[in-house]
Amino acid sequence: MNDMTRVERTVDSKAIKIAANDVQVHYGDTHAIKDVNVEIEDKTVTAFIGPSGCGKSTFLRCLNRMNDTIDICRVTGDILLDGEDIYDKRVDPVQLRAKVGMVFQKPNPFPKSIYDNVAYGPRIHGLAKNKAELDELVEKSLRRGAIWDEVKDRLDAPGTGLSGGQQQRLCIARAVATEPEVLLMDEPCSALDPIATAQVEELIDDLRKRYSVVIVTHSMQQAARVSQKTAFFHLGNLVEFGETGQIFTNPEDPRTESYITGRIG
């Protein structure tokens, strides 16, 4: 019977991409993340769910040191990317963020052409030797962002002129242009209509062939649709982390059950 289970639900890789050990985050006096231990697998979509203020976005932002930009934010514990501590002094956060890309809630294309939006990262990181290589990289990234066919005839048009859903896919194309290994997405569909959401979700499923994807979402159905692993955060604690199908049919912790079934908890 096992070979009849839906293949797209199986996790392709058991390789650990990111390991977090005893991570604590403080904003001034506020203890925002408490003792989080989690292992994020490669080539897997991991969803972080939980009520507002539970710490899921804070934790996501720890994974590429976006919290460094907040003065009062203090992160302790280890976060290892392929076994290397990303908070090590020798790690350049800019290089790290090329490897661990991020897509935000609101599409935020640069006020530049579609082409330059995607070419920006490869240029500053020196990923293309010449114009031809850059052209190729831009096309490849736009294809991976599932938006090439819609923009190939107007690459010089401003990125801000696209529809919301297209802008978000452009941002995803921009994020993948630096050949990242991990893609962090913070509510990537909350500003999109259902069709654009479905397109981005389809894209996420495609992206996991190459990357480890971590997505924060308020939509439990979205977590259920796109992820293979789900982590439930509550009041700064990682309450439960498990296979998505298990979390949505038979969660172990009563707090997870209360949250996903829409009860007060």
């Binding site: 439990m220 159905q221 259920a224 979390i247 949505f248 049919t249 038979n250 969660p251 997870t256 059950e257 209360s258 996903i260 079934t261 829409g262 009860r263 007060i264 908890g265």
Partner: protein, 233 residues
Amino acid sequence: MSEQHIASAFDRDLETIQAQIMKMGGLVEAAIMSAARALETRDQELAQEVRQGDKAIDALEELINEETARLIALRAPTAGDLRLVLSVLKVSANLERIGDYSKNIAKRTTVLVNAGEINGSAAALRRMAREVERMLRDALDAYIQRDAELAADVIERDHEVDQMYNGLFREFLTFMAEDPRNISSCMHLHFIAKNIERMGDHVTAIAEQVVYLVTGERPSEARPKADNTSQTI
């Protein structure tokens, strides 16, 4: 899960389908007992009532199917809610089958009324039906009270029903061997015994749904199977 949903209409929807299951369960319990009593007392009218009554059971199953489909579409239930909705679908299907078996017993009763009696078998069948009806009542109680232990107990008790069936099977064989004029009655009586034995299996399936609903896991397959008539010659 005693906590309320934030959306109170969701709670009402879930309560509605469970209330419909309990109503259906009540009708089926009554159908089992009436069918057995009609057989024992050779009551044509009561048998006819059972046959008619099955329509209401079938209609309830239809209603539950529709309500459940609607609830899945509109509420996208998860976790314990999902298991509840799935169990409602399966339990209603099991109840509907038990209703059909009761109806079939009533049908055969109308034939048997005009045939000679087979020594004490109708009383034995009634005892067997009573046991199944008790199991069903306990399974439904376990369902509404989320009592996995009581459900496990019901699953165990199916063994006794199987034993009763085995005994009757042998008895009918003996009667048929003794006098070929008994064959027609015994064939009908045997089908009735088999119907009751199958009812026990459906009650067991309901109890298994209770275990799944409460624990999230299927009960282990190692339940005692005592119906060995398929190997009898």
